[in-house]
Structure formats: structure tokens, C-alpha cells
């Protein structure tokens, strides 16, 4: 690494930590950032942040899990502390995404991947986290926007099938800013997660368009992901839109299975589960650990947040299907392999997970949840400001 790159990676790592940290920890991350800036030698600066990154991520998880939720009883009046412990599926998933990408970068670096590939994965992570964080505070998470965005995403996948870059008969890619991106990998997981809570006609139509596009491309892996996600959503809450989505995605998957897929494996992208252990035992373990972590938010959410189990089941189905397709064929390895698209897709899909317990409805656990003031992370943001201020005994 040249000095400038080392400095940029160090400052980028600080930015990621700052993005993940609850408000109570952010001054400390800023303090760390200032120390990094003050260190004259670029590589020493990178070493300083590298030595602290993993443990600070653990500290952020601990702070997030220890936070206490705050319910504002009346707008403009006093906020009251709720003693029940809470947690954030999104927060945990963000930490998981960072850790998985870090493990993937470790594997790729040990396998001799060019620094550009590492930088693309890191950039995709930062962009994804920024988009999720900003969207939580915007009106774009509301229903009309969800429908419009789903349609736009479906048309992007269809556009790729019709006008995208074709390799060995598969048209899955498009060229943006010098990068070859696979749009379906980025948008399909998010589209499915939107469908869990919004089964309007537009969102269902978007799923059908995406299914047709994946059959045309053809993309067996993403068609399988679409079918797995919609199928689980339909099992959890069977209704006409779920039936339509299931039939469309099932037919698309069947069509991709019927068509030959002769695309060879790309280094650092495909077949990573088979080649990582050839690089080094630790590289293989990093890939396995990073992959297992991808499902962790769904598992933890399923156990701790019974009211939103539909989201966690579908999230697990999406990423288990993606992992399975990477394990059995020449398809991108999610997050831990080189695929900025998969990193972005994972982070965007985790942005559709529930916030804390803002959507818990014990009387109708699996019903769709329309947008509400707490549906954009505001509960969590307030808890960031108030929680974690009590003295904590020193335990070393």
C-alpha cells in the first residue's frame, strides 16, 4: 500500500466506525479519528486504526445491545425511559456487514487480490451504509415511494437483460463509472424485503417484471434467490399477491434451470468456498465465518423479536439461497467474495429490517406494517441520545 492509500483506508475505517456507533460513542470515534489524523506516518496511522477496529466494533455492538429504548409519550413533552432491554436488528446487521466485509477483505488480501478490488468492496460497504442511514431519515421509506422504487429497480433489471453487457450468452451486467455491476444482485434482495411489508399491486408487478428479467438474462442464482424469498414470504402469509409472486418467480427459476449456464468462474468472485482453503487455513475460516455471520441478524431477530419473524425468515431465505448458489455454481459469493454488488445488496436489504421494537404488534404479528413515525429509526435515534450514559463499573 502506498502512503496515501493507507491514510485513506485508515480514515475510511474511522468513518465506518462513526457511522455504526451510537451517539454516546461517537465522540470517542471522533477522538480516534483525530489521533489518526495527527499521526504523521501514514502506515503508522493505518496500524493504529487496524489495531482497534475489531475491538471497537465489539464495543459498538455492546453499546447497541445495552441501549435502553425511549418512548416519547407525547410529541413535545417529556420522554420516559422504558426499562425493557431492546436491540436493533438493523444495527446488528450493519455491524455484521462490516465484519463480514472485513473478513472477506482479509481473505482477498491473503489470496493476492489487486488493491482495486479491495477498495471497490470497501467503497460499496460505505455507500450502502450511507444510503441506509440517510434513507431512514427520509420520507422515501413510505409506501408510495416503496412502490415507485420497486418498479424502478425492476426496470433496471429488465433493462440489463435487454441492453446489458453479455458474456457467454448471459446479460447480467452494466458498466457504470468504469465498474462492471450486476444490478440484480443489488436490488433483488431489497425488492423482496419490501414485498414482505408492502404487497400492493405495484410492488407485486415489480416482482413479476424482475422475475421475467432474470429469466431473460438468464441468472439462475438471483432467480433462485427471488423464488426462495417470495416462497417463504408466501408461506408466512399466504395471499393473492404472494401467490402471483410465487408463480412468477418459480417459473423464472425453472426457466433458468432449463437454460444452459456455461459462464466460467471468476477469480475472487466465484467458487470462493472451494478455493479459500487452498490459500490458507485462516483465509478459509475467514470466508466461512463471514458467510455464517450473514445469517446472524435473521437468527437473532427471529429469537428476540417474535412480532417481526416474517422479515427475519425472508431475510434468511434470501441470503441462504445466495450462499447456496455460490456454493454449487459459478455465482458471486455474497459479501466475502469480490463483489461490490453483493456487498451493496446485502447492506440495502438489511436496511429493510425492522428497527428495535417499533413495529411490534403482538395482536397481529405477521400482518404488513404500514409506515409510522417510528418506522424510520427515530426510536433508535432517541435511545442513542439518552441511553448508555449511566456509570458502568470497570471490568477488566
Amino acid at each position: 500500500l502506498t502512503g496515501g492509500v493507507a491514510r485513506k483506508i485508515a480514515l475510511g475505517a474511522c468513518a465506518v466506525l462513526h457511522l455504526l456507533a451510537p451517539v454516546s460513542l461517537r465522540p470517542w470515534i471522533t477522538a480516534l479519528n483525530r489521533e489518526v489524523e495527527s499521526i504523521e506516518n501514514d502506515r503508522d496511522a493505518l496500524g493504529f486504526i487496524a489495531a482497534s477496529f475489531g475491538l471497537l466494533v465489539c464495543e459498538i455492538i455492546r453499546a447497541r445491545l445495552a441501549n435502553q429504548s425511549v418512548h416519547e409519550l407525547d410529541a413535545g413533552t417529556a420522554a420516559v425511559k422504558d426499562d425493557r432491554p431492546t436491540w436493533s436488528a438493523r444495527g446488528l446487521a450493519m455491524v455484521v456487514a462490516v465484519t463480514s466485509v472485513a473478513l472477506g477483505l482479509a481473505y482477498m488480501a491473503s489470496a493476492g487480490a489487486p488493491p482495486r478490488l479491495l477498495a471497490v468492496n470497501l467503497g460499496a460497504l460505505v455507500i450502502g451504509l450511507a444510503v441506509v442511514t440517510l434513507s431512514r431519515r427520509s420520507a422515501m421509506t413510505r409506501w408510495p415511494w416503496q412502490a415507485a422504487m420497486s418498479l424502478a429497480m425492476a426496470l433496471a433489471v429488465l433493462g440489463t437483460a435487454m441492453f446489458g453487457i453479455s458474456v457467454e450468452g448471459a446479460a447480467r451486467w452494466t458498466q457504470i463509472a468504469g465498474l462492471s455491476l450486476q444490478p440484480s444482485l443489488i436490488v433483488v434482495p431489497l425488492m423482496i424485503m419490501v414485498f414482505v411489508r408492502n404487497r400492493g399491486k405495484s410492488v407485486t408487478l415489480a416482482l413479476c417484471i424482475a422475475a421475467i428479467a432474470l429469466a431473460l438474462q438468464p441468472d439462475r442464482a438471483m432467480a433462485g434467490v427471488l423464488f426462495a424469498g417470495v416462497f417463504v414470504a408466501a408461506m408466512v402469509r399466504p395471499d393473492p399477491p404472494a401467490f402471483v409472486g410465487c408463480v412468477a418467480s418459480g417459473l423464472a427459476f425453472a426457466m433458468t434451470l432449463a437454460r444452459p449456464d456455461t459462464l466460467p468462474a471468476s477469480p475472487f468472485v466465484d467458487q470462493v468456498y472451494f478455493t479459500a482453503f487452498d490459500v490458507h487455513l485462516l483465509a478459509g475460516l475467514a470466508v466461512i465465518a463471514g458467510t455464517a455471520l450473514l445469517i446472524a441478524p435473521a437468527l437473532v431477530g427471529f429469537l428476540l423479536d417474535p412480532a417481526n419473524r416474517a422479515h427475519y425468515l425472508v431475510f434468511a431465505a434470501i441470503w441462504l439461497a445466495a450462499i447456496a448458489s455460490a456454493a454449487v455454481g459459478n455465482y458471486p459469493t455474497p459479501v466475502v467474495g469480490y463483489s461490490g454488488g453483493a456487498v451493496l445488496g446485502y447492506v440495502l436489504s438489511l436496511g429493510a429490517l425492522p428497527t428495535a421494537r417499533s413495529q411490534i404488534r403482538p395482536d397481529n404479528a405477521l400482518a404488513p406494517v404500514r409506515s409510522s413515525p417510528t418506522d424510520r429509526g427515530s426510536t433508535l435515534d432517541r435511545s442513542d441520545q439518552i441511553g448508555f450514559n449511566r456509570p458502568v463499573p470497570v471490568r477488566q
Binding site: S38, I39, S52, L55, R390, P391
Partner: protein, 101 residues
């Protein structure tokens, strides 16, 4: 408050104690105490939360440089540091390694 300080925590406390009322910065503390930054910052967070450490932003003496976070022990922190000196065996091992190298 029951505590079982790690050797690293004792080292950091000893460095801060030796500085008295002088403020220290994170990078300098990590180097002086020979601890990783990943060990240092969680420790500083807990010390500050327990009221053993003062932390404040200080303007850089160099123009154009942003402020840095600086630390020093509170009165109770100094007492805790005195009650928990660096581990002698660890210090002896460190000294022996230093002498051998």
C-alpha cells in the same frame, strides 16, 4: 466498585498517574503504555464512565490542525491508580525482554 485490572489497564493508569495534571493524548498513551489502540479506547471509555478519567477537547498548538481529545485522571482515578500499580511480574518480563533484545 470491585475491579480486577488487567496488566494493560494498570499500565495505562500508571502512565496517566505519572503525568499528574498534564493532559495526554490517545496515540501517545498507547505508545507509552505499550497497548494496542483497540485495548486503549474501550478502557478509556470505561474509566471516563466510572468517573476516574477526565476527557476534554483541546485546540491543537499548530494552526489549522483540528482539536484532539485529551485525558487525565480525576482525584478518584489517581487513588485507583495508586491502589493498582503495574504488575511487577509483567514489568520484570518486559524488562528482561528489553534487555535481551
Amino acid at each position: 466498585m470491585s475491579r480486577a485490572f488487567s496488566p494493560q489497564a494498570r499500565s495505562v493508569l500508571a502512565i496517566l498517574l505519572s503525568q499528574g495534571t498534564v493532559w495526554s493524548h490517545g496515540y501517545d498513551l498507547a505508545r507509552a503504555a505499550q497497548v494496542k489502540s483497540g485495548t486503549l479506547y474501550p478502557l478509556l471509555i470505561r474509566l471516563e464512565q466510572a468517573g476516574l478519567l477526565e476527557a476534554e477537547w483541546q485546540a491543537s498548538p499548530q494552526p489549522g490542525k483540528p482539536p484532539r481529545h485529551a485525558y487525565r485522571l480525576t482525584a478518584s482515578g489517581k487513588q485507583v491508580a495508586l491502589d493498582n500499580p503495574p504488575d511487577r511480574r509483567a514489568s520484570m518480563v518486559d524488562s528482561a525482554i528489553g534487555a535481551a533484545s
